[in-house]
Amino acid sequence: MIHQILDQIGSSFGVTWPKFVAQLVLFLIAYFVLSRYAFGPIMKILEERRKRIEEGQLNAEKIKKQLAEAELRYQEVLRKANDDAQHLVEESRRNNEAFSQREMEKAVKESAAIVERARHEIASDRNRMVDEVKREMVSLVVKTTAQVAGKVLSPEDQKRLSEEASKELSS
């Protein structure tokens, strides 16, 4: 009964074993080709790409973390460098002030010494000039006395006159 119904359906719709098998084989070829050359390789490459993206994201996260750490380290180094620089500036300022103080004291001392030396030289020059003037004056007194007396003065007279004139000039 069922066999007859199936036969009737088969003949009505043109279903026969050879035609069915031919269609089956053709579809299986398509299935095989698509599985073997399309879906398999594509799924493999999609998986590979997914892994790469995942790795890329992980790397990006890692780099981000490293960057944050580097930023912290940089801030720390910068802060330390600032502190050091501040410290150095402070120290150099202190050193500079002490140096300036020392230099100033030294300059003052040197200038005082120069002044003292100049004063001493002036005094000695003055004394030397006074002595010279005295000598000139004594000589002049002797010459004048000889011309006034109209005679040639002996060495003893000249000595006496010189001593007297010197005494007079000193007083």
Binding site: F27, L34, I42, M43, R49
Partner: protein
């Protein structure tokens, strides 16, 4: 050349062999098998062209194929889960692509309209050279046979025969006690209904696809010949034959896609019903 147009518009239930091959050893080579071979050839050619040189950074062809595969894979994985999708995806995607292309192949000019007239039992008949392959019940039965065989194989592998029988006939809901006396026959009956529904699946799958595509072919044929059917003048009949089918072409493109989708989605559901609960456990 005056063809008896009404014959072209009439329903053709079966695929036909060319007259000169009918009684030879190539009698099985029908016009729809010829279209199947062309469709398979196109699939093979396109796939090989797109995947000959696969790269991580894809070219246009590879990118196109990847977009289809990736989109479809995501949709299937959402229903079947990862484990079953890895197994079933090649079949499901092949079914979808093949049925879609096979459905649309019937819309190409010349398919179903270029052929020859011959006399059979005193009547003039028209046999097209090419015929939409899914409008042949042999094809839809072959698709169903492959699909249901693999469905059964995966069900047995993943669920196992005992668990499958339990799933069909077992009492659900964790009931125990005297109430089982009432529930066991009830669930046996439900299981029997379930078995019938499983047995009907191949028939419903194959006849749905065949019926829809055949009806579409008949519809197109009728629309092309509507002028003659209405006994309009020859010039009007030719004009109507060009203009009237245009919206129906779009309808058939949509129907072809939908039928491929329906067939594939039903297979996904069948696989999901018999295997995925095991994966979840």
């Amino acid at each position: 050349m005056a063809f008896p147009i009404s014959l072209i518009a009439s329903a053709e239930l079966s695929a036909e062999s060319p007259v000169f091959l009918k009684d030879s050893f190539l009698g099985w080579l029908t016009n729809s098998i010829l279209v199947t071979a062309i469709v398979v050839g196109v699939i093979v050619w396109v796939v090989r062209a797109c995947t000959r040189n696969m790269q991580v950074i894809p070219g246009h062809g590879q990118n196109f194929l990847e977009a289809i595969v990736e989109g479809f894979y995501g949709a299937v994985e959402g229903i079947l889960g990862h484990k079953m999708t890895v197994k079933a995806f090649p079949l499901l995607a092949s079914l979808f692509l093949f049925i879609c292309m096979a459905d649309w192949s019937g819309l190409f000019p010349g398919v179903g309209s270029i052929g020859w007239f011959h006399t059979h039992d005193g009547e003039t008949e028209f046999t097209p050279l090419l015929r939409g392959t899914t409008a042949d019940l042999n094809m839809t039965l072959a698709l169903t046979a492959v699909s249901m065989t693999l469905w059964f194989y995966w069900t047995m592998r993943v669920t196992g025969p005992v668990a499958f029988m339990k799933e069909l006939f077992g009492v659900k809901g964790g009931m125990s006690g005297p109430i089982l006396l009432f529930l066991v026959p009830l669930f046996l009956f439900i299981g029997l209904l379930e078995v019938i529904s499983i047995l009907v699946r191949p028939i419903s799958l194959s006849f749905r696809l065949y019926g829809n595509v055949s009806a579409g072919e008949n519809l197109m044929s009728t629309m092309i010949n509507i002028g003659s059917l209405l006994h309009a003048p020859q010039w009007l009949s030719s004009l109507l034959g060009v203009i009237v089918p245009i919206p129906f072409y779009f309808l058939e493109i949509l129907v072809g896609f939908l039928q491929a989708m329906i067939f594939t989605v039903l297979m996904i559901v069948y696989i999901q019903l018999s295997t995925v609960h095991e994966e979840q456990h």
